[in-house]
């Protein structure tokens, strides 16, 4: 990892030196050893703040939306999931390819922050749950690449069928059990919208939940409104979710948000054919097109 950190600093320095980009977005060490929040480096002398370690969770592509109307170029480090998010944002026309310099990093899978907190530095910290089933740990698109080419091939070869056992476990419950399960989860929601704010699929200019005048959602913080929010958001990110798991990590109330997203991903695959968001920039969104031979269950 140190090697990659060194490479990161070197390339960031070069990019800023040459003026190829005005800012480099990466990760730096945070307040605690198990946090590596995003860093926005715009001076050569600051590049040594950049790090690459087991806790570079943030999906940096999301921050590109903030630079949408800036004229200058931005350089950004991307893991597999960041690169899928990048492709998605490209498809949603929220960024322009030529305004971004992508520096790819092969990702071995990151470690669980919460566990790190309890186990301590010396503990055997397990992988973050979201990284366990990652199908695309390596960046799919990049201008520079900070690993070995072989690693890419190796990973491509070990892609496994997605594991939906957690979704299936819920599907196996009775309707009332399912309702109880989800009510318990969403009773906790405080509607801080951290899930939305961190999500690269949530790239609206103004979220419907901020539009109080239309009255899409009430102000009350109750289970009903919270579920309305959760289901609506799930439908809005349907076909867009790139499974970076950031929503769930960002959630202060530990709501298993990815369980909803994964359910939709599973259904999209079953109903409309295999689809992984953010893989192919030319692919159409599952809800943005149709096939005349789609399953017909509404006769």
């Amino acid at each position: 990892m140190n090697e990659i950190t060194n490479k990161m600093r070197k390339i960031a320095g070069e990019i800023l030196q040459k003026g190829e980009a005005s800012v480099v977005i990466g990760w730096e060490k945070g307040t605690f050893w198990y946090l590596s929040p995003p860093a926005f480096i715009d001076k050569v002398e600051d590049v040594d703040r950049l790090v690459w370690d087991d806790f570079c969770h943030n999906n940096l592509s999301k921050y590109l939306v903030d630079f949408k109307y800036k004229e200058e170029k931005v350089a950004i480090f991307v893991k597999g999931c960041d690169s899928r998010a990048f492709n998605r944002l490209l498809q949603d026309k929220q960024i322009e390819r030529e305004k971004v310099i992508l520096i790819g990093i092969p990702c071995p899978g990151l470690k669980d922050q919460d566990q790190a907190k309890t186990l301590g530095k010396e503990g055997d910290i397990p992988k973050a749950e979201k990284c366990l089933e990652c199908k695309y740990p390596n960046p799919l698109v990049y201008d520079y690449y900070l690993g070995e080419k072989e690693e890419l091939d190796e990973v491509a070869a070990t892609k496994e069928a997605p594991n939906y056992s957690d979704v299936e476990a819920i599907e196996a419950m009775s309707p009332d059990e399912r309702y109880e399960f989800w009510t318990k989860q969403y009773d906790r929601c405080i509607r801080c919208y951290a899930c939305r704010n961190v999500c690269p699929a949530c790239n609206c200019r103004e979220c419907v939940f901020d539009q109080t005048c239309v009255g899409w959602i009430g102000k009350a913080n109750n289970s009903s409104e919270n579920q309305f929010f959760a289901l609506t958001r799930a439908m809005h990110v349907a076909g867009r979710c790139i499974e970076c798991g950031e929503c769930e990590r960002a959630c202060p109330m530990d709501i298993p948000i990815m369980l909803l997203n994964k359910k939709i991903i599973k259904d999209i695959n079953e109903l409309f054919g295999e689809y992984d968001a953010g893989i192919d920039v030319d692919s159409k969104l599952p809800l943005g097109h149709f096939d005349k031979s789609d399953p017909e269950e509404f006769m």
Binding site: Y69, K93, C204, R205, E206, C207, V208, H236, K284, G288
Partner: protein, 660 residues
Amino acid sequence: MKRVGVFICHCGTNIAQAVDCEKVAQNAQAFPGVAFSTDYKYMCAEPGQDLIKKAISEHRLDRVVVASCSPRMHEPTFRKCLERAGLNPYLLEMANIREHCAWVHPDDKERATLKATELVRMAVAKVIQNEPLDRSTIPITKRALVIGGGIAGIQAALDIANAGHLVDIVEKEPSIGGRMAQIDKTFPTLDCSACILTPKMVEVANHPNVRLITYSEVEKVEGYVGNFEVTIRQKARSVDLSACTGCGLCTEKCPTKVPSEFEMEMMNRKAIYTPFPQAIPNKPVIDRENCRYFKTGKCGVCQKLCPAQAVDFTQEDQLVTERYGAIVVATGFDLFDDSVYGEYGYGRYKDVITGLHFERLVNASGPTMGKIKRPSDGQEPKNVVFIKCVGSRDEAKGKAYCSKTCCMYTAKHATLVREKIKDSNVYVFYMDVRTPGKGYEEFYTRTTDQYGAKYLRGRVSKIYEKGGKLIVRGEDTLLGRQIEIEADMVVLATAMVAKENAAELAQMIGFSYDQDNFYTEAHPKLAPVETHTAGVFLAGACQGPKDIPDSVAQASAAAVKVCGLLSKERMETEPTISIVNEAICAGCGMCVTVCPYKAIELKFIQERVDGKVINRRVASVNSGLCQGCGACTVACRSAALNLKHFTNEQILAEVDALCL
């Protein structure tokens, strides 16, 4: 505060006997925003409308709910009523308490009354959110486009032109004329096809209001009714039409022979050629794929010999863009590929041919000068078998539909064989004989009675060769016995199918087609020449199998629709269309992909952000194209798009009012 007036109609006793109208009116008094509520026997009648008008002025109503029959019935009536009372017609909502309530719940007055009350409550909740809307008008380009220069296209163009409007015909082939030019005689009169078609071709070519754009294809269609913008690709003809005199010397001297498409490849043409002698324009074209000059760079005989110096190898395809007010699609049909019938051996046995081959074989200007000779050895066939429904009425290998014309043209072919070969035997395998047309049944009767064609009811199962004969095996289902016929030639009555690229054109223009790629009319009974896209009309076999009279009739009907449109200076558009809230729109373009009318595009607007001027991408709805379906409003996650008259706010208000 809005002031809503509620009017409950008894519809005579239609509503009143199942719904307590008075009570509904009373209940409505209590709904928020309702300033006046009453019931009356016939709201749609003159006195009823007067009652509404009077109430509007007396109670200063600014919104109206009429609870009566279906809005599909009387919405226009009550909208007019509001207009007369000085209110915007879109400030009306209707509650359907007849079809959706009284008539379906005749035996439970209490619950029917409750339901009617709730339907009124929903309508009141919605109408409070209604906004006045204005119909706008758009100017109309006074020129029509006809795509396809077959008999349907020619007829449509002539009718439009004769009504005094300008019209262009775009034809893919080097000449107009289409399939009818290939046909020998027409049923049931046995008129010579060319004799009746050629004068029409000449007339349309010489008409001052008509412009022929041959050897050209439509490449792009944008815009909307009244204002289509069409890009046409004029393929390089390699012959300068204005210089060429049509003397034919080039064709005569060209050394390259190519099987003629027009003659169903039973005869050759040259690489520089006119497709048939009566072609219009009667000027050649170079088939670059086969031309020696284009293949090897050598030859150029035609160019050297041309006295008018009209041959131009350097010509290139040209794209021209024209504006049209209306479009007639008359692209015709293709023939089914009979080679999928392995059991019939089409393609393997030379003497198994299609009906269109037969047309050329029997045509005086065809490859055999009109003498019926079988392709394998040029012998005159004595036993000729016709098989109907090849590719038609066949779900397994062909098309489920009936091709409509085969019964008649097969009868015609049978007649022609018997007429031209005196000692011949003609057998026709059929499943049904369908002759619904003027003089058609009589023609069929003559074919059997007078000409002695033997009709056998059954589908042929197999054809095979034995001793130089074609053995045709089937069942005579009327006898219930297997039969075999030793035939010299077999003619397959091939199904008519949609043009190969039919779907592509429909998608380009933006109208629908059926599972067989035939174009879909707006209504099978009452709008048979319109498409669902305003300003686009259909003529001929592109819509479904048709014979010549049907095609011509439909072409004239389409022409009338076009004339109706072009005779207006401007046209009104519905105001119930989508609008964009640019402040919210993120410019993702989801709405663009789901819009069936290509009515939304992304544009850039200028904005100041942090003191700098930036260009921001947002969606933009073309009010001429938008038909108000609302697909975009759901595709937009941030609800930047909304549908006027069916806004998110209105629908949510209705839902809330219902659930109270």
